[in-house]
Amino acid sequence: MTGIGRLILIWAALLVLLAATVAASAVLHGAASLTASLLIAAIKAGLIFWFFMHLGEEAGLVRVMALGAIAWLGILFALSGADYATRGWW
């Protein structure tokens, strides 16, 4: 049973990031706030995926499966975002 120390470390890092995102929301506004909160959430998710979910240990294929859905979400956001962002430009 190795690696428990590392898991606890990750957990601590997650809590620190949680504090960071709350703090950021107090300081930042608008687009900056959005970017910061998404960035921090992404890092947290990355940590959970990589260490808690042992993605780091799996074969390449399984990683693709998990990340695939995220890429596909990117399509949804990018193309519908393109509509919202450019509506009423003319």
């Binding site: 049973m1 190795t2 690696g3 428990i4 898991l7 606890i8 990750i10 957990w11 997650l14 809590l15 949680l18 995102t21 709350v22 950021a24 929301s25 107090a26 930042l28 506004h29 608008g30 706030s33 959005l34 909160s37 998404l38 921090i40 959430a41 947290k44 998710a45 959970i48 995926f49 260490f51 808690f52 979910m53 042992h54 799996e58 074969a59 294929l61 399984v62 499966m65 998990a66 695939g68 859905a69 995220i70 596909w72 979400l73 949804l76 956001f77 519908s80 919202y84």
Partner: protein
Amino acid sequence: MAENVRLHDPYARPVQQRTADLMGMFVFLGTEIMLFGGLFAAIYVVRGLHPHEVVEASKRLHLFIGAANTAILLTSSLAVAVAVRAARAGRVRLGWMLLLGAALTGLLFLGVKGMEWGMEAEEGLLPFRGVSGSLSGPVDRLFMNLYMIATGLHAIHVSIGVVLLAGLALRIGLGRLQLPERAVVVEVAGLYWHLVDVIWVFLYPALYLIR
């Protein structure tokens, strides 16, 4: 890993069976990501259309309760991650205790969430209990409704997870699930729990921290 795994029908080799189970779970998690993804799209579109009202509405939520709940969920995720290690190492007692612990923290999360909903209902923020007197405009109401749907859907997932983890703890404790041979079952349930955690990690800033 252990070679005395009982194989069920279509499988010929233990590794094949194990990786198939894991892959099935990962694909399922992909579908969960897409499910909540649609919800996030809705949240961000409403935010984009009405930046001001949404900020005002978001300020009405209990930011610190949400933060505490995030911490609770992260902690239970840690418990599950360690439980998976324990299961793989065949540490039966540690395994079921950690799983039970994770299920209980999950329950705690639900309790806190329920309390929070109660407070918000009291403040007239939520769509039930007649007219919500304290909201200034339709967009605030829309935001709160979305909040209710999103956290409600998430809470359903947490509840499923709690049942899953508690059930596993029970089966391991009673010796119905052999460890480390069937550690993959713990792993698969763990994956689900972690994803529910990840979803919350995104929901929290998307709802509570809009400024």
